[in-house]
């Protein structure tokens, strides 16, 4: 396994720390003119999602983590596992609840996701930034009310609940930003 010295540290680098795979979020070189060099590093623990700051000294090294991001197609959920497929090799991977986490509520069959593999197994799933999902439950729309202002909760086909404008109805397809859960508009088609 490769090791990185702190000179190699940069955002996005995947390293092992306290036996967990972590991703470097931010790296700041700090050095008083006459003092030792330090790197103040913000890391994300890829297992827990926790982001925290740790300081390293010039002489320290970290092992690289066998972590890679792969674009995959979401296939289906069998009740316990979520199944994904690599589009070129057709290789399939199953991810458990811990790995899928909050992404579960945005996963629609055949959508392209980023699956983070750690030692070859899914560690995290990132849904597409924008998804188009059908409204399956919401209060009836107010006919003719296309004016701005006012919204209501709507449950989408994947189980996610988002705020939509009052005129949306069951059966409409909405476009949503998965990073903040915001309604972007009615899907065109």
């Amino acid at each position: 396994m490769a090791t990185y010295s702190i000179n190699d540290f940069r955002a996005g680098l995947k390293v092992m720390l306290d036996s967990d795979p972590c991703s470097i979020v931010e790296n700041e070189f700090v050095k008083p003119g006459k003092g030792q060099a330090f790197n103040r590093v913000k890391l994300r623990n890829l297992k827990t999602g926790r982001v925290w700051e740790r300081t390293f000294r010039g002489s320290e090294n970290l092992e690289s983590a066998d972590v890679m991001d792969r674009e995959m197609e979401y296939l289906y959920n069998d009740g316990e596992f979520w199944h994904f497929m690599e589009p070129e090799s057709f290789e399939q991977h199953q991810a458990d609840k811990n790995a899928v986490g909050d992404a579960a509520k945005w996963l629609k069959e055949q959508d392209k996701c980023v699956v983070t593999l750690y030692n070859g197994a899914p560690l995290a799933v990132t849904p597409p930034n924008h998804v188009e999902l059908e409204v399956v439950e919401t209060d009836p729309g107010l006919k003719g009310d296309t004016a701005q202002g006012g919204n209501k909760p709507a449950t989408l086909s994947t189980g996610a609940v988002v705020k939509v404008p009052l005129f949306m109805n069951v059966g409409d397809v909405v476009r949503v930003d998965t990073r903040n859960g915001e309604y972007l508009g009615r899907a065109k088609e």
Binding site: K31, P32, F38
Partner: protein, 314 residues
Amino acid sequence: MSWQPSASLERLAQRAAINRQIRTFFDDRGVMEVELPVLGRAPVTDPFIEPIRARCNGATRYLQTSPEYAMKRLLAAGSGPIYSLGKAFRDGESGRRHNPEFTLLEWYRPGWDDTRLMDEVAELVGHLHPGVVVTRLRYRDWFVEHLGIDPHRATGAELAAVGRAHVEIDLDESDRDAWMDLLVTHVLEPRLPEGLVLVSDYPASQAALARIVPDPTGQPVARRFEAFLNRMELANGYWELTDAEEQRQRFETDLAKREGYGLPQYPIDESLLAALTAGMPACAGVALGVDRLLMTLLKAEGIADVLSFDTERA
């Protein structure tokens, strides 16, 4: 990689104007500008400053990490007050506030001590940045006020205990100076007020080339000061050590420290020691990072924004 400059042309024009103001400031005060060799036979022995090695006429030379030793030889030769505005080089230093080659303004005042020189640093910064608020602070009071600990007397364990409350790092208790530096960079520096802050009376263990003298409480302290501008380290000055024998001991202590940290060993600058033996006038000297000063004056995010070409584009 882009061929374009890192800084805007507007900022480069402002930079040129500030260089002219700096030169006028010293010219008006009868301080002579000197140019010093960039390639030197010996680098500094500072444990945490790494020189860049060069080959010249078949021999090893070092790109100077500051013009300090050459300027002290000029002082010993009777130059009187002098300043240098030029490039310095330090290996491994890259970041938002660091570039491996940078511009250092260094000046020496025979007959002055650190207190008087701090006033002149404030005058220079005030000249370039009218209206800047100046605050003075002793290193000890800085620690006592914010951390409730006396840095001169605290044990390594005490410093580490306070440090661990603020900083997550794998560092043992024996390295007192590292803990003090961490508390400065992680806790104290970010809490500094806006403007210029002059911190004096550094711990004796961080004297570098400053005299060690008892303070009013009898505590031996280094007559070293640092200037911070808007929470960024800007300058480092000393009431200079002039004793050749003590200077040699400090070189040797530095080299022993380097060995302890597994860092490369370097030759001692015998020319500097010979100059001190011949007699260097009592003086105070300071080195100020011009790029950092420009970052503040020109409201730049990073050092690259005030450099024609930063190290990535050089």
